[in-house]
Point group: C2
Chain length 482, copies 2
């Protein structure tokens, strides 16, 4: 069989990881990236202030580990563990809400450092060729051909033949656009009514972190919030999320300091007024949108991974993790098809026939469209949680109860956040399980409440010496309810 | 003020009507259509078998009437009134379900005849220039420029300056794609799991209609259906709607006759076996999809109308009617802005300033996104109604009750179908009103049922000579319910 060739469009986080996986499984890989190589010193500043800090957790780490346990270790060396949320009130109080009763944590990591590491990893493989400054222009999926514009040569067209085209080209994916034009795709995208702007919080004059480095810091203010994630250089990257109407009110750099003074006085002190003013003037406002589509594949020729298939708002910290998991899930399914067909597996997905490849892609898309749709929804919901609910007593009581039950029955009751961040339970399964848990929890809380009321009634009737009619009434109500 | 110029992209039904309206309001209009002029004999067969017959009703007629009452009359001359649905059972029984208790009707009309009429109307206006064989390529909205490929000259690029760009270029609108790339648009499209195929039923040998011409004929079969609409030449155009999985089972032309024999024996006799076989082999299968988006506009420069903004499945017969209503609503809003600003109206929307144009477009989009989303959903729901519910007794009983109430209280109770097809009540308002009506209807039916039960209980208790405890129980249940 001649060599199987895959073209990966997009040399970001997901594209470079996908290149590593395909090379490992015997494919010849050509990776095309529109931008120049950000590993070169002259391009290292590209794409700054346009993206939120990343938090890598179990799903992302699992995909790295499966490729090479040493890779996971190298990522950990670049990352800072965050064990919980640190909530900052308006009067400067801080309170920690840990993520997991067993101490599991997520990890703050810079996008640039991680991309560089994965590009190095991909580029070091003999079967991978990296092409920078190549913009995807078009694809003829039936013919197995992709066309790029070589931006370093005035946009000259370059046609490439491929057995498989992988679109890892982000939320505004052009590969996805071509797939939509070539076949029937269900698709939706929507923008939320909020935007964001990035700021920085430097290390202290003594060279230390200005805040506890092992937390994700949140200043929840109801309709808007500030967050901060630690960096290895002991600075924090801060992001202000706010309705567009508020950004319109805080229109210019001179309005931002009074705004911070009113809502985030402690953060303002640590960031510095001049810096906040300058960064608000210089940094762009980012918009927040999500994408859902189905299928994620086109025949046996193309698949989209990462944001190209399921861009999401950043509030569950799952965008990259979900994209990395795409790569792992696709690899597992391709290997499973190989095993089903041949009884034994060569471990080389490059050995899949066209037909088997189609089957693997179909299976991948069917499963993944459902799971990624679930995390896109969860990420939307989590915005309300971060900016408002984290200071709500009923929410906190419920969290504590759920955490206690998880501690008592670690396998039977698992909080949703734990399932999403610290396990590989498929997202849609996690949501269904969490809904069942919530139902039982509500019933248990109600039953406990009724029992307490009944006990009070018993006390009351004894005290008054009357017949326990009230108690009977309560008992009847409880029976009626359950 | 220099002449205001509008570029209309798409010379179908909605584009040609929009061209007429803008010309009437003082604009210089250039209409660009990708295909050749279908009014020329050599191109008259274009786009056959690719579209379902049309039913024009109040919203479409209203937009024509507003432009010119004579135009409405000319359309009626081309159309055949359909007063109701004719349901064909498997054993060949026919039963009529009229659309309206006051005899209002919809009108079967051929797409080709209507497009020709509207192109004639637009082309006869001195301020309108028609450009055929021009494909939309790109637009720079900020600069007010659209670029077309002149297909008659090897695709040569033609740039056109415009104050306003109107995209009436259908479900796969390229104008919409450019708007999506230029700004933040919420967008969704989805395909249903059913497709369609067109057939014809000729006039009888004696030259008459093979079926009652004043009905929309339906052969409802649960998961699939055949429908037939009359044509002026006394033939019917029939369309088979069916799940793709069934099309896969009825794979070839030799399978179609046994399929018709089993499910539509009466239709098969009238269509002829050879014809059904030949048409099933020759005609393409059509897919069915819908589009929703918001906004429908881009700054003060662009607006999308018709399928470009809200493609829908054909089951409510509202696709064209809604597109025509777009044109009327936009015209009304532009005139209203003109009147607000100047106290009196010149009646010439070409007099709107850029700012006023922006305000009119914003207002249009805000209102229209909600209303068109409602009809897109209704059209989806109506498929189930046509292929399954029309033979359901509970459904029919409810329809009759609602019809009777409408006859008694014509303004107070209006069935949803009547509001959609025979009024210009905004779609979303019609849906909300119908939901309220349904709620009251359910309550009334329940109350009537309880009253009947109570009456029965009274009879029973008298008969048995016992205390009317049952009656009291029923009365209590009724009180508890309402």
């Amino acid at each position: 069989m001649p060599e199987r060739r895959v073209v990966v469009v997009g040399g970001g986080l997901v594209g470079s990881l996908a290149a590593c996986y395909f090379a490992r499984r015997g494919w010849a890989v050509d990776l095309y990236e529109k931008r120049p190589d950000i590993r070169l010193p002259e391009h290292s500043g590209a794409a700054e202030h346009r993206s939120i800090n990343l938090a890598i957790s179990e799903r992302g780490l699992s995909a790295l580990r499966r490729l090479d346990p040493a890779l996971e270790a190298r990522v950990h060396a670049l990352a800072i563990p965050m064990h919980g949320r640190m909530i900052h009130t308006r009067d400067g109080q801080q309170s920690s809400q840990r993520y997991d009763v067993f101490g599991k944590h997520i990890n703050s990591i810079g996008r640039g450092a991680l991309v560089r590491l994965l590009l190095d990893e991909a580029g070091s493989h003999e079967r991978v060729t990296l092409h920078f400054c190549h913009e995807f222009a078009d694809a003829d999926f039936a013919a197995g051909r992709a066309v790029f514009r070589d931006l370093a040569r005035g946009g000259e067209h370059v046609a490439v033949d491929a057995d498989l085209i992988v679109g890892a080209d982000g939320a505004f994916s052009r590969v996805r656009q071509r797939m939509m034009a070539a076949g029937m795709m269900n698709y939706s995208q929507a923008y939320i009514e909020h935007g964001y702007c990035e700021f920085s919080m430097p290390a202290t004059p003594a060279g230390g972190f200005a805040l506890d480095p092992n937390h994700l810091h949140i200043w929840p203010r109801g309709s808007f919030m500030l967050i901060a994630l630690p960096n290895p250089d002991r600075s924090f990257t801060c992001t202000l999320f706010m309705p567009w109407s508020d950004f319109a009110r805080v229109a210019t750099a001179k309005d931002i300091v009074p705004f911070f003074r009113a809502h985030f006085p402690d953060a303002l002190r640590l960031m510095g007024e001049d810096s906040v003013r300058a960064e608000y003037a210089a940094h762009p406002r980012g918009s927040l949108m999500y994408v859902k589509c189905s299928p994620h594949t086109h025949a046996n020729r193309a698949v989209i991974l990462g944001d190209a298939a399921h861009a999401m708002v950043p509030f569950y910290g799952q965008g990259m993790n979900c994209g990395f998991e795409d790569v792992e899930v696709l690899d597992r399914i391709m290997l499973a098809v190989l095993l089903q067909e041949h009884g034994k597996s060569s471990g080389q997905t490059a050995d899949l026939s066209d037909d088997q490849l189609r089957r693997a892609l179909d299976e991948y898309s069917a499963a993944r469209a459902v799971d990624t749709s679930a995390i896109v929804d969860l990420a939307l919901d989590n915005y309300t949680e971060m900016r408002a609910k984290v200071v709500d007593y009923a929410y906190l009581a419920r969290k504590h109860l759920e955490g206690a039950l998880h501690w008592l029955f670690p396998q039977r009751v698992i909080p949703l956040y734990t399932m999403v961040s610290f396990t590989s339970i498929p997202y849609a399964t996690a949501v269904a399980r969490s809904n069942r848990q919530t139902m039982w929890l509500h019933r248990a809380v109600r039953a406990a409440g009724l029992a307490a009321a009944a006990a009070a009634a018993v006390g009351l009737t004894r005290m008054l010496g009357t017949q326990p009619a009230l108690l009977r009434g309560i008992a009847r109500a409880a029976t009626g309810e359950y």
